[in-house]
Symmetry: C2
Subunit: 329 residues, 2 copies
């Protein structure tokens, strides 16, 4: 067991005993997992039911995380705490009362948008970014009240800045990288990153190849050097890992992520017709057993041991502790 916790700020794998065992082999104490994208509330509950079956089936490997204190439970019992999140607000439909219901069911992160305009804000692929909508402002306040973290990973620039300003509690971008390193639409401007850091929010660095300079061929040290520069921009306490690991998923799943039910055509999102499926992961990070390589790379990028401990999990732990409970009055 490492002296500090190891926490991944986002994964969406085709879950299996193999992956849960890899989490244990890699010493992963907690993972924020995506349970839903375009699913309605009832469909989201079906996804949570599937997780309940996994918790019942593999009680020695995983359990549901609800508060930061569960990370201590995970470390004490040698298991991985699974925290739920949604990548889109479809799960709350048009009903603000579902924010508290979903929090009671364990949801701890919710993106206000997934690429497209939602009822709440604008996605990063829209030509026009409205910022937070009327309902968006109400929902952010309700999320603040109950302890459901606003996640703007797939949102547009203006919407993201709006959310940072309007939210009374720090927000997160659980899985993205700096735009100045790799100019993907999903990556974030220095302006956003600076505002995020100053407001106490968190960025999780993504290992999804479309977010990486050089894609699947991205070098470990290039990735770690980018993290060191971002630590200087945002503060070393404001950053963590959010691998966006989609291990063992068939390509039909990336199609659901991108297309849902909002179009009858294929939208390739970050991919293209020639490269439609999941891209291969960098060879130095294929699964949950490989976090140690990042830890080493961060040290070689000049970060101190305390800074590396924070980035590998200590910062997420502090953020979870501040974020998941009801707002104090």
């Amino acid at each position: 067991m490492t002296p500090s916790p190891l926490i991944d700020g986002l994964q969406y794998a085709n879950w299996s005993e193999k992956i849960f065992r890899q989490m244990r082999q890699g010493g992963v104490d907690a993972v924020h997992v995506t349970v839903t994208y375009h699913e309605t509330f009832r469909e989201t509950v079906l996804r949570i039911e599937e997780w309940n079956r996994r918790f019942e089936q593999f009680p020695d490997l995983i359990f549901q995380g609800r508060s930061a204190s569960d990370i201590k439970v995970a470390r004490d019992t040698g298991r991985t705490a699974i925290f739920f999140g949604s990548q889109n607000p479809s799960c709350m439909e048009d009903d603000i009362g579902l924010v508290e219901i979903l929090h009671t069911l364990g949801l701890r992160f919710m993106q206000l948008t997934y690429n497209n305009q939602s009822l709440l804000a604008s996605g990063c692929y829209e030509a026009e970014d409205t910022g937070l909508t009327r309902m968006g402002r109400e929902v952010v306040a309700e999320m603040n009240r109950v302890g459901l973290v606003v996640d703007m990973s797939h949102s547009g620039e203006r919407s993201t800045l709006d959310a940072i300003e309007h939210s009374s509690r720090p927000i997160a971008i659980t899985h993205a990288n700096p735009h100045n390193w790799h100019a993907a639409l999903r990556n974030k401007s220095d302006r956003v990153l600076r505002a995020l850091g100053e407001s106490g929010g968190m960025l999780g660095f993504s290992l999804y190849p479309h977010h990486l300079k050089g894609g699947s061929a991205c070098l470990l040290q290039d990735f770690c050097d980018m993290i060191a520069r971002t630590a200087a921009l945002m503060g070393p306490d404001r950053i963590g890992i959010g691998t966006d690991l989609c291990q063992d998923q068939p390509d039909s799943v990336v199609e659901w992520m991108r297309v849902g039910r909002w179009t009858k055509r294929i939208d390739y999102g970050e991919g293209s017709a020639a490269n439609a499926g999941f891209p291969p992961m960098p060879d130095w990070f294929a699964d949950n057993r490989h976090f140690a390589a990042i830890r080493t790379g961060l040290g070689q990028a000049g970060l101190s041991t305390a800074e590396v401990d924070g980035i590998m999990g200590g910062n997420w732990l502090r953020f979870f502790d501040q974020s998941f409970g009801p707002q104090s009055r």
Copy 2:
């Protein structure tokens, strides 16, 4: 504050600040409230959302109860703990995974039937009683596992005996009276009551006039003497109060309770065409301020102070403590 807790095993009122203040005036520490009858899962969630609004609006009067320890919280903070229940399994639809989901949302009691045949068992108004169905046996085991109490208040005789036998944890009949005292279809035979008591289950005595000898004109002492006789039959530790108080409800609600969406005709249930609405309560129990009269009457029926303390809440407290958590392996 009385030395022992005051717990009501069932109410379904038209909730308001007035009623919550009456609970405080009456020193009611906890109430099992019906949140749903024939509602689907999604409709049940809307009912829970309404409760969440009440908890937010009246935090000094009420809060959501989840475990027996919340009764101590209620007494320490001068509030009433509200525990959720369903009078029918409509809320779990045809999906056994919803049992755990509903428990996570706070459901602590679920009737397997409401008068009619359900997917799980037979109601007390059916001509044929199948006992537990195939799905019923599976669902009882799942309710046992997560800590959702089987409630057979509106079930048929054979189904009730089946549930007592099949359930690995004690069950409840939260609101009914002995059939030998008042021969209503909803009241329970000595055979059922004896089996319930021997299995560690609980009966809550109902004050709904259709369950009372003499109806709305029932005398307090007659009611209390019946309780004393039932204490001798079942054991004084196996009984409590379950008023079935439906305060301030319009008659449209009793129609929803009886008819739901299962018929286009009117079914009068325990009433009749000439007496279709809610009957008036006995004059000695109109609302939550009037429990003290029952306490006095039980003493006059010859029950000891310890027995009266148990019936007024101590027995429900012990039952809550044994019933609401996950089953130990």
